[in-house]
């Protein structure tokens, strides 16, 4: 997919964009392991973390209108929210595959789609965790670009 010719740090109109903060650093620690995750793995972990939070808090959703949900309706709504958490987990699994295919763009649009669906169901995921996902995606995209340019540079020299 062709990359937009926009200069890094500016939006489509050429205005300077506010810098996106870096995501949290994920470290796998314990047993014989001590390893820092790379940015793609960090995005995957951030997605899983968000999915876990959605599962845990799936009972807490907003209801609109005068009538309260009956218990079966509430359960159905909860299951719909859990299904969307599973979508995040599925996306995380796909992201793991994407690490091996740097030419494919990271599917951030799917994250926003799922979040919009959650909002429609009256569920608002933890904002901090969602922001961490956004930051992780930005960081992963930068990482992929730098790897790609390093690869291209090597090809030019080769």
């Amino acid at each position: 997919m062709a990359r937009s010719p926009v200069k890094e740090g500016t939006d489509a109109a050429g205005r300077i964009e506010k810098p996106v903060p870096p995501p949290m650093q994920s470290v796998i620690k314990g047993g014989w392991t001590y390893r820092v995750e790379d940015p793609i793995e960090t995005s995957v972990s951030a997605l899983k973390e968000l999915a876990q939070q959605i599962r845990t808090a799936s009972r807490f959703f907003a209801q609109y209108g005068r009538k309260r949900f009956s218990p079966p309706e509430a359960r159905t709504r909860e299951q719909e929210i859990v299904a969307l958490a599973a979508e995040f987990e599925k996306l995380a699994a796909e992201m793991e595959q994407l690490a091996a295919a740097p030419q494919h763009p990271l599917p951030f649009h799917r994250v926003t789609e799922i979040v919009q669906k959650l909002h429609k169901l009256g569920f608002y995921p933890n904002n901090l965790l969602f922001e961490n996902v956004v930051r992780a995606f930005v960081s992963a995209e930068k990482f992929r670009r730098s790897e790609q340019s390093a690869f291209n540079g090597e090809e030019d020299h080769g």
């Binding site: 740090g9 810098p19 903060p21 870096p22 949290m24 650093q25 796998i28 620690k29 014989w32 901090l128």
Partner: protein, 194 residues
């Protein structure tokens, strides 16, 4: 001190506490090692006294205790393994990325027309909010991991104590049986000698 500064102090403290707690789980492992060493020594000592066939009350009792002991040691080792198994922890962003972020923020505010003093103030505010978020996410996540580890460690220690109790109980049974049968020093003999 403004509210954000106060909040930052609180969440940073909580984040550091969780990091310490994470190390505490590992630091408490020598206790487990010592308990395992004690039970191993006991087993080596009583090895020669274990009856070969589980027929009769005394041999059956010894073998039941030994089997229960083996199961509890296996469980303890299993829990210990789970307590130290690899888990994902959330740490603050790497220093080089934090540095780049602050530099980019400063450039951004200068480019937006802020004076250097204003820009510096805005950078401090943004960075503080960002760090509060990182401390909060990190503390919450690491606390969950630590709780899980601590629970597993508690189970491991509980089963180790059970193992110790079973090992001692086996020793007591063997000693009591020996004393009753042989009447060492002529003091505890119940059956007497012909």
């Amino acid at each position: 001190m403004d509210a954000n500064e106060y909040l930052e102090t609180l969440v940073a403290e909580s984040y550091k506490r969780e990091l310490d707690q994470e190390e505490n789980v590992v630091r408490s492992l020598p206790f487990a090692a010592a308990a395992l060493a004690v039970v191993s020594t006991i087993m080596v000592v009583i090895r020669g006294y274990v009856p070969s066939r589980a027929i009769g009350f005394y041999p059956a009792a010894v073998w039941i205790f030994l089997i229960a002991f083996g199961v509890s040691v296996a469980l303890a080792l299993c829990f210990l393994f789970l307590a130290v198994a690899a888990k994902r922890l959330q740490y603050l962003s790497p220093p080089n990325e934090l540095y780049s972020y602050v530099i980019d923020l400063r450039k951004y505010y200068i480019a937006m027309g802020s004076s250097p003093q204003q820009a510096e103030q805005q950078v401090v505010e943004d960075t503080r909010s960002f760090m509060i978020e990182q401390y909060t996410i990190g503390a919450a996540h690491n606390q969950r991991v630590n709780l899980e580890r601590s629970r597993t460690r508690t189970k491991a220690f509980a089963t180790l104590i059970v193992s110790l109790a079973l090992a001692f109980a086996t020793v007591v049974i063997i000693l009591a049986h020996g004393a009753m049968k042989r009447g060492d020093n002529g003091t505890i003999s119940c059956q007497g000698r012909d």
